[in-house]
Symmetry: C2
Subunit: 225 residues, 2 copies
Amino acid sequence: MPDNQDREPIVIPKPTLDRLKLYHRLLNEVEQKHISSEEIAQRIGTNAEQVRKDLTFLKTMGKPKVGYDVETLRQELEELFGVKKTTKVILVGAGHLGNALVNYPGFENYGIEIVAVFDKDPKKIGSFIGELSVLPMQDIGRVVKRFHVEIGIICVPKESAQEVAEILVSKGIKGIWNFAPTRLIVPNDVFVVDEDMTQSLLTLKHYLEIKKKKIQESHQNAEKS
Amino acid sequence: MPDNQDREPIVIPKPTLDRLKLYHRLLNEVEQKHISSEEIAQRIGTNAEQVRKDLTFLKTMGKPKVGYDVETLRQELEELFGVKKTTKVILVGAGHLGNALVNYPGFENYGIEIVAVFDKDPKKIGSFIGELSVLPMQDIGRVVKRFHVEIGIICVPKESAQEVAEILVSKGIKGIWNFAPTRLIVPNDVFVVDEDMTQSLLTLKHYLEIKKKKIQESHQNAEKS
DNA sequence: AGATAATTGTGAAATAAATAACGATAAAAA
DNA sequence: TTTTTATCGTTATTTATTTCACAATTATCT
Ligand SMILES: NC(=O)c1ccc[n+]([C@@H]2O[C@H](COP(=O)([O-])OP(=O)(O)OC[C@H]3O[C@@H](n4cnc5c(N)ncnc54)[C@H](O)[C@@H]3O)[C@@H](O)[C@H]2O)c1
Ligand SMILES: NC(=O)c1ccc[n+]([C@@H]2O[C@H](COP(=O)([O-])OP(=O)(O)OC[C@H]3O[C@@H](n4cnc5c(N)ncnc54)[C@H](O)[C@@H]3O)[C@@H](O)[C@H]2O)c1
């Protein structure tokens, strides 16, 4: 059995990956043929060195005096994120948020197709959200098999989220997009991305707190002098 | 003019702040009187050293052999994030997502009160979302003044987001919670928190890509041997 | 009361990430 | 052509964050 460990895993650092996503978004909006690290930096709010460093994780190279070819870079990022491959997804929880998500056309551009919506509430089952009729929970297994579903979106109250996660895992789902404000416990090979909006709310509140403190302080300083 | 620069800013590092938010969420769910760094770590998915290090940015101290007093710690975090102070908020964009947000009762626990909803679509103006009737854009100034609104939520399509941000800023808003997938350009003293769901979608897609690569690789390795 | 065990707080070491520095290169100007 | 200029890729340096290690402290056990 020969060299098995020299296969470098070329893992992209998390902060870099987050910025690469922003570059990707930017390149989709840009008209020009070339773009410099400086311009990318300006438009996403970082510095050119950072951009160049980040792009070393990619194959695409820039040209001195010209910059990066927008289309080439865009395509490499698309591949990195696999947005061209359509991934089938189911959503559990046909409530307010589930409704918004199912009706959102923007996910298509990212290769996400919601193929079914599930809920446990008998009153919701059979009703329509967009084109999709809400299905009962016991249909999950069938749909997952039939459509080779890879991802599940959890849009149920936090109290039910773990329970739903376990159902999804038991039916073979390997990626979960979790909107419930709770940490899901899942097997190692299942990947969870949390979208906890209340967490970013705390960022906003914290900022207001700091600001208030600063104002107080400057008042006190004014008094002292 | 005396020492003005020795006032240490005691800035909490961003990664720490992000974890503190998770600790806060956890402490709200916990029943027991005390909790150890080890238990916090387990339940949010990090290690005990990290937890203890993070908590050095707070005043609350633990007791050897006992852990941290849940209530004390919870309250200090509440204060750090100002969740006890109610902040008045307006929302612009009475669409699918706006609807979900206005109907979400969970924000109350974080001291956020949505006091008005605005839209530019004449067909939506006057209709109700929950208790709130949708108001025309020209009323923003009045409402902001009257209720001392500090934060604006942007729930309009990305094409309109910058325009709306500028209106909000011009009316005195100092914090923006932006759901549109675009970077807003605002004055320095205005704080923007982006909630770009399509970005976390990319995390999920990227994970699937990596996974697929790994599977391919292991197949190739199997062939070779 | 003294020994033992659990758990903290923190400084030191290791790792990761960001920034700076700069030689190399391609295009544009002279 | 040669020179100048903009911009890149990469290595070195600095800064930030995490992990490690361990003395100090408090509760529990004998
Ligand atoms: N609405 C928002 O703006 C918002 C904001 C932040 C976070 N969230 C989170 O998103 C999640 C959904 O929020 P929402 O406002 O859509 O809630 P909702 O109450 O409107 O909808 C929840 C839906 O889940 C279904 N459900 C409950 N338990 C279930 C189970 N065990 N199996 C299957 N279906 C089940 C309910 O029947 C209901 O249709 C919640 O966890 C919430 O905390 C929502
Ligand atoms: N719905 C989702 O699940 C979802 C998911 C990810 C991101 N988003 C983002 O959130 C934002 C809102 O999405 P949505 O699905 O609610 O869209 P939507 O089309 O349902 O609603 C948008 C609302 O904004 C109003 N509007 C448009 N331009 C305006 C302006 N200049 N001033 C005031 N109001 C204006 C429209 O009249 C409409 O009521 C978008 O930027 C979208 O990309 C939504």
